[in-house]
Structures are given as C-alpha cells and as structure tokens.
Subunit: 300 residues, 2 copies
C-alpha cells in the first residue's frame, strides 16, 4: 500500500459523470469548483434528479442519453450503485473517445474490475482503473452530495491488471483524485475487498442487526451510544444489498470471524470471567485509540 | 412505562455527590446552576479530581471523607462506577440523616438495587430508589462532565420494592431529576436491565468486537461509518467490564440473539439470497428510522 498527494497536473476538457448522486455529485462539484474540468456532463435516469443536480450547480449539463454524456469526454466516471456500474460501462463502450480515462466509484472492486474489464474488452484504446473514494454519509442524492467535500479524503485506486495499459490508467486515475484534493492509495482489488469487508461492510451488517434487534419498548431508552453505533444502518438497503452481495465471500469471512469473537465474549461473560471480559474490551478500546491517533479530534 | 416532566417543587439544602466524574459532575453543576440546591458536597478519592471539579465549579465543597460529605445532606447521589456503588452506600449508611433521599446513577439496576437495599437495611428511615440517567459520552471525568447538560435527557427510576417506603422514594427521585430539567420514566429493575442490554450493553460489546477485529492494514481505509459504529468502544474498559458483568445474564441473552441473527445473515449471504439480505437490511433501516422520528435532526 502506497499513498501520495499531488494536486498538480491533471486537467480534462469534458468529464462524463454517469450517475450524479451523493458521491458523483460531490465529485462533479469539486471538478468544477477547482477548475479541473470546464464541462461536466451528468447522465441521469430520472428527470427529478437531473433538476436537483443542475439547481445545485453539480454539473454543467444534464442528459438522459449515455451517448450524449460520454461523447467527446476525456474522463468518464461510473458513479451509480455497484450493480449498475458494469452495464453502464457496456452501454458507454462504443461511444468512448480514444485514450479516455474510465473509472468507477464502487465500494467493491474485484467483481467490478472483472465485469467492467469484460465490458471494455473491445476498447483496449481506452484507459480503465477502478476507484473507491472513501467518504460518504448515510444520506443519498445530489442535494446531499452538494454538501459533501472530498478534500483531504482518501481514494483507493485498484488497477485492472488484465488490461494492457493498467499502469498508465492507474497513474492517471490517481492524478484525477489528487486534482480534487484527495489522497490516493493503490491496492489490488482483492486486498481492497478483504480489508473493506472489515472496515465498512461488516460494520454495516452489524449496525443493521443491532437496529432490528432493539425491542420497541427500548426505543425511549436509546441514547447517543446506540444512535452512533447504528447510524450507518440508515443507508439505502438496496445499495447495501448490492455491495454486500458483490463482496459476499470476504464479508462472509468477516462475519464468521465476528461471530467467533462474539461467542468467546459471551462465554467469558457466562463464566463471569471478568479478566477475559476486560481483556477483550481493552483490545477494542486500544484499536480505536490507534485509529484516533491518526485523525483530527472533530472526526473521532 | 410512564413518563412525565415537572420541574417544579423539588429543593434540597445539601446534596452529597459521591463520585464527581462525567455524570456526577454534570448533575452537580445542574443542581447548582438551576438553584435546586445551595450546597453540593463532592466526595472524592483522588485530590486531582477534586481540584478539577472545584475549578469547574461543579461542587461547592470537596472532601475525601464520606462522613463529611453526607452529614446533614438531604440528598445523597451515588455516582461512581457500578462496582463501587454498593460499598459506598454501606460506608455512608451510618451517617445518613433521617428522611434523606439516596439514589444512584448506575447503568445496571437489578444488582445495585439488591445490594444497596441490603446495605441500607438498618436504615428504613431513609428513602432509596435506583436511577439511570440516560446520557453520557465516551469521555470521562469532571472536566468532560462540566460540558455535559442533562436538560431534556431521560432518567429511568427503578423502585427498591423490598423497602417500606419504595413508592415515596421513587416519587421523590423523579422530582429530583425533573428539577434539573430531565424527563423521567419508571421501570422495574429487571425490565430496565433486559431493555438496556439491547439499547446499550450489547452495542458496547459489539462496537468493541468490530474495533479489535480490524486488521491494522485497514486502519487507513476507515471512514465516518467505522468511526461512528465503534465510537462507544472508546469508553473505559474498567467501567464497562463492571456494567456488563453486573448485567451478565441479560447481556448474554442479547448476545445469543445477536449471534443467531448474524448467523442467519451470513447464511443468506453465503447462498447469495439477495432477497433475504435485502429484507434483513430493510428491517434494520426501518428500526432506525422509527427511532429518528422521535428526535430532532441534530441527534440522529
């Protein structure tokens, strides 16, 4: 894993943002605001979303035609939910200009890299690498995206190793994210998926379980702690079903590890083994403290 | 479960706050600020904590003698960690004035009610009911307590049914919390412990598990979601070992239910049963939405 930040040297004349929701919208806005790109054409499936995005100045132009969005674009960003990304790449393939950079923002990389690489097989002349910008919220849509700033956040870039120009595409994708003030880190798609299973997908599954198990009589007895712990459960079930199923192997392995850990904790509690309980809680507190050392207080 | 708020009609001439940390400190400050109590004597085991509490104006007087703190007090609040509460009650018993109201702020009620009732067996002339003010943070100590405001928060009051004056004590305890702007709800200690296992103790156990299972290589890949979900794991392992062990039966039952739920989720994922995965995620999202309907946006 290597990281670097270098905001210089990337410009594009036209970016096609295919999907302008929370993440796509925030990226579009940053590209325009920072002067990285003169024109950002947004592709929409719903007129209402298009109106909202235009009203917030997230794109310079909106269209419901993929062809119109990608024609003449030197950057194409696939920014829908995980399942829609490969079919979008397939629809766009024929209209891509030579040397165009194609990337996506999906939370799972292995399956997407494979499927998008397959979709772009007939276009070895375009550049493709996968991306995962690591920020967001439990909110959705362009209006929420308008308030989200990628500056200082991390984007993981995962090369599509089966393609001839994998390295060139990855380098250019890193430059794209750096141009809007993001840090980048490069990972193999499989390593990304294994680690994100623990840092994002498992927490989502667990937050949902905690929320749905709460007896309704206990609603009034929840405080900040419960709300923090279950906040991500508010995220779209549709989008998260796609993410968890697209990374099912790694998420299942993380769930198995979590179940094993919880059984050990339950056993210690059942035996009133206070030392074991304390030791496990201390390990959790230490791990969290390790994370907090790496960030400003307001984000902890 | 019944709730009411009535801030009128409760005053005390002297409150003894036995333990002036996050919760005890915030209550002391509210009692003084709202003019409920002229004198709040804090009992401390460490001189440093006493200095901090006095510097923040959390108590009007500090002492390291239990006798001095409780002498002449008409309200005594046991505000230490769970394990120290019963021995404190035992030490204070002989020095309590007739008709004094004794309550505690422990996160577990069954065991505390039993033990404190036993400690006060020789003092049927004092009033005792258990309490659990439902607010806090992952921070500790009087300096953090000075920034914490109980206004608008909920206090659960659990009667000590084995005592002759259980009802009178519960009513007076409710009036105490209402005098500092809190809402109150009355619950049986066992019902409190069963419900809090789901709304607070299980989330704590789970947040710790998520934090300690994170591979260190994934530290850089954590974002807001992971930090929210594991925030409470930053809480004191010592205090939480006491809480979880004092409520071990109910917490173990909640852990069993959670493990069962996670196994079902893992099974659905392993079979790529997208409908079942979606249904479980939807149930989590719906439960959280139910909670959010009951509170202002900034707390969600």
């Amino acid at each position: 894993m290597t990281g670097k930040t270098d905001t210089a040297g990337f410009t594009a004349s036209k970016t096609a943002m295919l999907g302008v929701g929370l993440i796509g919208g925030s990226i579009s806005k940053a590209l325009i605001t920072r002067g990285v790109c003169r024109e950002v054409a947004g592709y929409f499936r719903r007129e209402e979303t298009m109106k909202t995005a235009l009203a917030h100045g997230l794109v310079t132009r909106g269209t419901m035609s993929i062809e119109e969005a990608v024609s003449g674009a030197d950057v194409v960003i696939l920014a829908t939910g995980v399942d829609a990304i490969p079919p979008l790449a397939e629809c766009a393939a024929a209209f891509l200009q030579k040397e165009t950079l194609v990337t996506d923002v999906g939370s799972v990389k292995g399956l997407i890299i494979d499927k998008v690489s397959a979709a772009l097989k007939g276009r070895p002349d375009v550049l493709f690498a996968g991306s995962h910008p690591l920020y967001g919220s439990h909110l959705q849509g362009p209006a929420a995206g308008a308030k989200l700033d990628p500056t200082g956040k991390l984007a993981v870039v995962t090369p599509a190793k089966s393609r001839v120009n994998a390295e060139k595409a990855a380098v250019r994708t890193e430059a794209l994210w750096q141009s809007i003030g993001m840090h980048t880190v490069r990972l193999d798609p499989e390593e990304h998926d294994r680690l994100l299973a623990f840092s994002s997908h498992l927490p989502h599954a667990v937050a949902g379980a905690l929320a749905r198990m709460l007896p309704q009589e206990a609603d009034v007895l929840t405080a900040t702690g419960f709300l923090d712990t279950t906040r991500i459960a508010a995220g779209s079930p549709k989008l998260w079903t796609e993410i968890l199923c697209a990374n099912s192997k790694a998420v299942a392995a993380a769930l198995d590890a979590m179940i094993k850990d919880m059984k050990a904790f339950r056993k210690a509690l059942g035996k009133n083994d206070r030392e074991a309980v304390a030791r496990m809680l201390e390990a959790g507190t230490a791990a969290r403290a390790r994370l907090c050392e790496q960030m400003p207080p307001e984000e902890q």
